[in-house]
Symmetry: C2
Subunit: 713 residues, 2 copies
């Protein structure tokens, strides 16, 4: 069945129009059946016949068994009248059954007005499942799938995808519930038809996408068997209220603006100040001391010069073009200055000032949004720390400067989390391409950043903290494309209901249903960080790891105890420990003591000299059956931390020169000197972590998750 | 129903003896029913009556409805003969039913030999559940509980407790499955009788405990309803092979030995050496430089003096008592020296040497075990780094010395993990009372350590890394008691099947079923760490936190974004955010800007001066309805990190002086200066973490988990 399923739209349109006209907001069962028919969604077939020949023909067209029932306004107790036959198994039986029922009916009530015999497809057991659709405020239409029954309700075992869903999406839903095994046939029962069930999901998702007024749809239960999937009950709820279309500039326009904002040739600081402690002063200092090479125009009502730069009363007085304006003035002055920016055709406004939606000043923020749209100025913020873009030595922020160049582009919705990003980056010497504050997200949001970083050669990984996605659908669409090129990592705050409640009182964000976020982010290839530290560790480690070429992971460890914990972490992070082939096992054994354990983990044992690490790691990198290495180092007098670190860098670089480029991560167990060794390894392209067996494996796991999502594995 | 349930042991003994005599290893259904009867485990009641009066009486004694069936060798088709009545609902109906059945039978076959009418309790729907028992190599008898049905099998939703289980244990099992809500009545169905179901679990657990030869038992399904719990099918498997009793010295003896080992007045170093690089030299240096004040006796075959201490050829040559002997000699010499230690009545041998079970030398290790038992010497190791006991300035190890005194006692089964413990401790300035290597655990294991640390006033928290528990039952029994006094934290490696496989090739350990560990550790009040870092962070943070007096947690944050993530973490860690009473809300609002959010989290907003933190935290500590505080600090120019840290310490200490002693943890978001602030806070009794919203809440969560398990909340 093709992905781009075409239903009979005209037919559905007619039905919905009639319902709208009738002033109803849901469909009757017969209307629901007609809608399903128009989209090829199986419901029990039925029809009324008035001869044995017709009965034979209709029943055969449905497939057996069927149920046959007398249709007569005069016969209320059909069974008593001998007017019902259940489990009719063949065309012949159906023909004979027709005659029997008519005869019985006449015998029961000779003067009954007989309209015919109804033939209905009999639904055989199979597995009860639920297929449905909902409309989410951020993501729009979503299709849902789960098993039927109370237990599943209790366990909330349901999965969502953006509608319309592709066949591949639909198939992933069948595997995406906890109880997926139930569909594969357990205790000798037949597996369900994945083809039929996924087709049903695709059709439902297409139907709700074609008709935005279908706000909810429930097929519950659907009987899924090895032969098909039939919806026994259909419920369709409508909402005819027109939705305001979302404001969304075309992507090329987004990119053009974002480039001018992030890589400005010239920059105005509105509210620049020479006075220590003022925000406008901090911004000026950061721009100058950070080494920004573009033009800087301080804007000040009175000053003629600030910190050596000629000052202007308004951006309109500045000769030549200005790309970006950084605002460092009180909230009440922002709108006026923004209009001037508009008239000056500035591409973007970095709105540091607070005092807008986060303080309840919704109107003030809306005013900015309207000015922005009118003049086509994109707004970052308000209520932000600003942003850093290190390739341009640009620190457009009032926070401390940061200049360690690297390939991670981070953003945060919250200023506090932004400060944590800066602190961690500095402490861990994480190279970044950008750090961006999004604050109230009145305009620029995560997908605008994705569009810029997608084409930014300085950026290899994008890591975002967010509390809500104002347009989840737009984000998902962009993320799906971008994540195939570069890993996109997200820390979605407000995961829990308590968190969501806190989020709703912060930055005006309303957290959505977390399960929807979970599924849509995965569908979009986004790696979800579970904690702030995960976000930071992934941003730091993932970009320096080469992409693995296959799923075979091998652990080489000096500490057997680390090997066990590393193995646990592999399972937790969905990494596959390669079963060790005999010849490789023998090859590893040559290098390790007789009481060491080959297999996987390769346990070289604790007392070994540096050469044993080198020999086994070289072998692991050389053999093409192995795709990634996890090393467990144990600090001993024989192999001190820095000796190990330098040797590993040598071996990895030697093998890289030979084209053996594989991800390697390291867990270091030892005294404090392992911290220096970890930093050395990291700086040489090997993510390494002291006192942790979990973090290195989680970082490798994130890289694998990305590579799988991007279709590279 | 009393916890200490007494079944009819004699009756069961008779049945099992007969089965054994018959050479069978499982019970027939009737035997199973008799065993159940003897322990008051409900199975469908049944009996045969031969009069209407008897029918009336028996049916009434069973409870209604009942099923009635003719019993006659001459009537095969009972239903056809009118010999079956289903759903008989009253005593009267039963009496009448008897007459009807007899009459029908006589009508059907006048010469039939009628033996009576069978009356059987009719099991009404209710919820299908499974109650069972298994025998685990480490934990012994365990009782199991889960829902019935295929879906539950697929989801592996089952829970275990050590048998015999108390009523409280059994009740916790009903709440301990994912699908617990099913038992409470969903979609209008009745809740099951918790009394009946928990009694059934207690009885099964008592039965398998009373009769060790019952190796497996399955009641599947059990029909649980609001009226009772009836096992419809009973399966009992026997294993008559006698188990060797576990070697287990009495606890007072364990404690006496452990005290001499951990707090020795005198210590021998067997294999002491003056030569740099030798293990026996490192041990001597650590003892001397560590500041150990007891007597040190170097043992060496030739030397008369080592590092200023008189040397002896054998421990037997030493005048006076020796408490502990540290071994630093090759494996092959250990047994001989150990015999001499035995003759010298040394309490414990710290067996650093490797070359035993971990290298496949099982016999060599067994030899040591036998010598140890013969002479009553307890063995630590072999294959270990030794141990540290800081209150005695004792570094009985070849690793680097460690002397930061504190209240965490850590142990590890693996040397590598031990090194990570030492490195982390030094780096984080974690005070420890002890760090102990257990290695091959030929003798001393985790429960021996628990017995010592339980009474050690220098220890406030016990944190253990282990790959297996050789005697899980002994551990659980001791841990249950100790954990009520001091938090016991465990990192159980080999959680996953891959991890377990790695564990089985390491230190000869075989990992058990992780779900059993999970449940039994919880039953024993042990806090389970999910990662090495968690183990270390909990060991560091938990002992310095005061015990909370209630469940009401309040978040006070400068960064709204941190507030959201902290709320998420509260849910993840099972902490309860207090709904803010109106008066307290008003009181908080007095201190925060009008656009800040009160409620919980209390969002004081980012631009606030130190005093706002002080005011709100003081209020949080003062009000007795609040039991714990989580602070989210946001680094700003107005409130720099160290200003915040010092002020918080002042406020907390001021309130502690007033008797307001509550746990406070801090998450710091900011530039690198927050690291110094975090360390300052930690050193003043406030666990604080930079760049993380998860770790502080997890540490508080661990403290709460302990307090709940210890019955303090």
């Amino acid at each position: 069945m093709a992905d781009n399923f075409q239903g009979d739209k005209n037919k559905v349109r007619q039905i919905l129009d009639a319902v709208k006209k009738a002033g109803r907001d849901s469909l009757t069962a017969p209307e629901g059946k007609l809608v399903c028919d128009a989209y090829g969604i199986s419901v029990p077939k039925e029809g009324v016949v008035s001869s044995a020949a017709e009965a034979q023909k209709l029943a055969a067209s449905m497939g057996f068994p069927v149920v046959m029932k007398i249709v007569s306004p005069d016969i209320l107790h059909k069974t008593e009248a001998g007017g019902v036959l259940v489990g009719v198994k063949s065309a012949e039986e159906a023909a004979k059954g027709y005659d029997t029922i008519i005869a019985n009916a006449k015998k029961y009530k000779s003067d009954a007005h007989i309209m015919g015999v109804q033939i209905q497809q009999m639904i055989k057991g199979g597995q009860e499942v639920i297929v449905g659709a909902v409309t989410d405020g951020s993501f729009g239409k979503l299709v849902a799938f789960g098993l039927g029954g109370v237990l599943v309700e209790v366990l909330k075992d349901i999965t969502f995808r953006l509608a319309p869903a592709t066949k591949e999406d639909a198939l992933s839903m069948l595997d995406g519930i906890q109880a997926a095994e139930m569909l594969k046939g357990v205790r000798g029962s037949d597996p369900v038809s994945r083809e039929a069930l996924s087709s049903l999901i695709v059709r439902v998702s297409q139907l709700v996408s074609d008709f935005p007024e279908i706000s909810e749809m429930d097929l519950n239960p659907v009987f899924a068997s090895k032969d098909g999937a039939i919806a026994a009950d259909v419920r369709i709820v409508l909402d005819f209220a027109a939705k305001a279309p979302r404001y969304r500039p075309p992507e090329d326009q987004v990119l053009a603006s974002m480039k001018r904002i992030m890589q400005p040739a010239s920059l105005a600081v509105i509210g620049a100040s020479a006075e220590d402690g003022k925000i406008g002063n901090s911004v000026m200092k950061n721009l100058i001391n950070g080494g920004y090479k573009g033009k800087i125009y301080p804007i000040h009502p009175k000053a003629t010069e600030i910190m050596g730069y000629q000052a202007y009363k308004s951006v309109k007085d500045v000769p030549g073009t200005i790309d970006t304006a950084v605002f460092a003035i009180p909230a009440k002055l922002v709108a006026g200055a923004l209009v001037e920016c508009g008239e000056k055709k500035i591409a973007g406004a970095v709105l540091i000032p607070s005092g807008f939606a986060e303080t309840g000043n919704m109107d003030g923020q809306q005013e900015l949004v309207e000015i922005g749209r009118k003049y086509n100025i994109r707004l970052m913020g308000p209520n932000i720390y600003g942003f850093y873009y290190t390739p341009a030595n640009l620190c457009a922020t009032f926070c401390t400067a940061y200049d360690v160049k690297g390939s991670a582009a981070l953003s945060s919705q919250s200023g506090g989390i932004g400060m944590a990003i800066i602190g961690f980056s500095r402490s861990a010497k994480m190279g970044v391409s950008a750090i961006v504050g999004l604050g109230n997200k009145s305009d620029i949001d995560e997908d605008d950043l994705l569009i810029f970083f997608e084409q930014d050669d300085n950026t290899k990984v994008i890591a975002q903290h967010c509390e809500d996605l104002k347009d989840g659908r737009a984000f998902a669409e962009v993320a799906k494309r971008v994540s195939r090129k570069k890993p996109v990592i997200m820390l979605k705050a407000g995961r829990t209901s308590a968190g969501a409640k806190a989020a709703s009182s912060h930055t005006g964000a309303l957290a959505g249903n977390d399960k929807i976020y979970e599924d849509v982010l995965r569908q979009s290839g986004v790696i979800r960080a579970r904690s702030l530290r995960d976000l930071l560790d992934f941003a730091r480690g993932v970009p320096i790891l080469p992409t693995p070429k296959g799923e075979n992971v091998v652990i080489i460890t000096g500490a057997g105890g680390s090997g066990v914990l590393l193995s646990d972490s592999c399972v937790d992070n969905n990494l596959k420990l390669m079963p060790m082939p005999d010849d490789l096992d023998k090859a590893f054994r040559k290098f390790i003591p007789p009481f060491g354990a080959a297999g996987n983990p390769v346990d070289i044992t604790g007392g070994e000299p540096p050469q044993t690490y080198a020999n086994t790691v070289r072998l692991g990198l050389e053999d093409d059956r192995i795709h990634a290495l996890i090393l467990g180092y144990w600090h001993t007098i024989v192999t001190p931390p820095m000796v190990f670190a330098k040797l590993m860098v040598e071996v990895v670089e030697e093998m890289r020169a030979k084209g053996k480029v594989k991800p390697v991560v390291v867990s270091l167990a030892g005294d404090v000197q392992v911290e220096e060794a970890a930093q050395y390894l990291y700086e040489h392209g090997i993510p390494a972590y002291a006192y942790s067996t979990e973090i290195p494996v989680a970082v490798l796991g994130a890289k694998y998750q990305w590579a799988r999502g991007a279709g590279l594995l």
